[in-house]
């Protein structure tokens, strides 16, 4: 959905739904995934419809993903880190085991 207009200096390795990818450092998870052509990050809570990041500034909560096992993280407010495992969500968050 988006492409980069200039080269970044450094990259980190992340995974999205198990797929490994290298993305530029110092950017948000939302921006990194959009730059990889991934826009649908979850299925909506009520209607099970595809949803994508919408506001990129922490307001709309459309970009909720699971990051390193923690659900409902705002992808647009979280900076990518080497080794980060991101996964899409379907519906509402589930109760964690052991919580």
């Amino acid at each position: 959905m988006f492409r980069r207009i200039d080269k970044a200096t450094d990259t980190v390795a992340i995974t999205f739904d198990g797929i490994p990818m290298r993305v530029d450092t110092e950017q948000t998870v939302s921006a990194a995934l959009l730059g990889q052509g991934i826009s649908t990050l979850r299925k909506s809570v009520v209607g099970d419809r595809p949803r994508a990041p919408y506001c990129l500034m922490g307001v709309c909560f459309e970009c909720l993903v699971t990051i390193d096992g923690i659900q409902n993280r705002q992808a647009c407010m979280t900076i990518v880190r080497d080794g980060m495992a991101i996964s899409s969500q379907s519906g509402a968050r589930a109760l964690d085991e052991g919580c």
């Binding site: 207009i5 110092e26 909506s44 009520v46 595809p50 994508a52 990129l56 909560f61």
Partner: protein, 492 residues
């Protein structure tokens, strides 16, 4: 002197003279001003780097690399420089999720709960400045929840912070100064912009005309005209657009709209919507600051005195979070609020602070010239503020349609808070941020009442979800213990 960057929420001091929330132009300027006046100052910001949204990534961007961001953007460099050199503390990626005004030793004092890096902590401040900025007014149209549809602000953030340009065929739709500013930036950055759909009602021009004279001296006049001419020369611009629908199976593939009585359809890969900005007032609302309806800007904003003091005397609001005025007015507003707070704290410094305040207040009057013209000209069409298409989703989180809201409104629901319990609108993850404006305006439309009378959602803390373990980790105050157990013990 340099800014002291803090990397752990537990390394914050227990108490500061002044806490500032938000690192956009108002917050950065407030911090520099307060620190210079001798206040022990902390700035807490949710974003990873200073700049807010308007000066997003200002620290890393340079005119050599991304010249198309324009000279108004580079003005952020000066504010940033002063902020980085000031004697304040700064904690980025920090969410202030609760603010309560109380008293310590008979003096007003504010308790802030802050989450950063998965931990929460309590900080006290004698005065607080909310510099929480603006958010884009929602523009509910059919299909706006489809992947491939975002706000123009979002597209601009992607460009500023990550150098991302939307791929494929792009349409921009809506109204307001950002529409043409971003169209120009997108073209310069190599985007494939296929059309601009301008939804500004034609009748706005006649309404705005009487306010034109002060705008003639505004620095925005020439810039605005130049952008308009430039964009129109490169891209088809449809004006007076009345309805918009986005289509697609699992993502947006076409946009249909009406202009000049004709229905048009364009194939797209992405569409970006925008109809101005409104104060991001979640924190002020949840803290209990009184809000009032601004009928010219069609939004709720905190009720403030001329120096930014809210209905809660220890809490000030500066910048667009207190009423939309743009980046330059926000910067000056930050200085004024910070100095006014310092005047509360250090009455002995009146002779030093008074003249500074007068200087900035004068400057704000100059910078605010022409605002009424812009507000009137770009007042979004009622069709997009209080939509009538029954299938359009108004509350994105709980997927509540315009039809459901209009139906309930016709049955004399008293206001947004009752609507919440009936339909669950405003009860999803975004806590009502994305639908509150629409809900108020639809209720006002159906019931023929003023938006001020309808009101807005009453928000509660935490203003964003915080893990229970962070709540549980905070020390219990005697009041909190008593609230749950009825026990008056001194345990803390």
């Amino acid at each position: 002197m340099t800014l002291r960057k803090i990397d752990d929420v537990h390394r914050l001091d227990r108490e500061y003279d002044l806490a500032i929330i938000g690192a956009g132009p108002a917050g950065m300027a407030a911090a520099a001003e307060a620190a210079a006046a001798g206040a022990r100052t902390i700035l807490l910001d949710e974003n990873p780097a200073p700049g807010g949204q308007i000066y997003r990534s200002i620290e890393r961007n340079s005119p050599a690399r991304r010249a198309f961001l324009g000279k108004d953007y580079w003005k952020g460099k000066d504010i940033l420089k002063a902020f980085l050199q000031c004697d304040a503390a700064y904690l980025p990626q920090a969410l202030v999720w609760s603010v309560e005004q109380g008293e310590t030793d008979g003096k007003a004092s504010v308790e802030l709960r802050v989450s950063a890096g998965g931990k929460s902590s309590i900080v006290h401040a004698r005065r607080v400045v909310f510099a929480t900025g603006a958010m884009e007014r929602p523009m509910p149209v059919r299909g706006w929840t489809l992947p491939g549809v975002m706000t123009i602000g979002a597209a601009q953030i992607a460009l500023k912070s990550s150098g991302l340009v939307p791929d494929g065929r792009v349409v921009l739709a809506g109204s307001g100064p950002l529409l043409y500013l971003f169209a120009d930036q997108l073209l310069q950055a190599g985007g494939n912009l296929v059309a601009v759909l301008d939804t500004t009602p034609r009748s706005n021009w006649a309404k705005a005309l009487p306010f034109l004279p002060p705008f003639l001296v505004s620095p925005y006049l020439l810039k605005g005209l130049a952008l308009l001419v430039k964009v129109r020369r490169s891209v088809p611009v449809f004006t007076g657009v009345g309805t918009i629908e986005v289509f697609g199976q699992d993502r947006a593939s076409a946009i249909r709209f009406q202009a000049k009585g004709r229905t048009e359809e364009i194939d797209i890969d992405s569409a970006f919507l925008h109809q101005g900005v409104v104060p991001n007032n979640s924190l002020a609302n949840a803290t209990g600051c009184l809000l009032g309806w601004n009928d010219r800007q069609k939004c709720f904003q905190p009720e403030l005195d001329t120096r930014g003091r809210s209905s809660l005397p220890a809490i000030y609001v500066a910048g667009d979070g207190g009423g939309i005025g743009g980046a330059l007015v926000a910067e000056v507003g930050g200085r004024i609020a910070a100095l006014a707070a310092c005047l509360d704290l250090f009455p002995e410094k009146t002779r030093q602070i008074g003249p500074l305040l007068a200087k900035h207040e004068k400057r704000r009057r100059v910078l605010s010239r022409g605002r009424t013209f812009i507000d009137t000209l770009y007042q979004p069409a009622v069709a997009f503020r209080a939509p009538t298409d029954l299938e359009t989703i108004a509350c994105r989180c709980e997927e509540v349609t315009v039809g459901a809201i209009r139906d309930a409104a016709a049955r004399n629901v008293v206001g947004p808070n009752q609507l919440k319990t009936m339909l669950r609108c405003g009860m999803g993850s975004c806590q009502g941020r994305m639908c509150t404006a629409t809900i108020t305006e639809i209720l006002a439309d159906v019931q023929q009442r003023s938006p001020d009378d309808i009101g807005t959602y009453r928000l509660r803390t935490p203003i964003k979800p915080v893990p229970l373990r962070e709540f549980a980790s905070l020390p219990l105050t005697p009041d909190a213990v008593q609230a749950v157990t009825g026990d008056h013990s001194d345990r803390s």
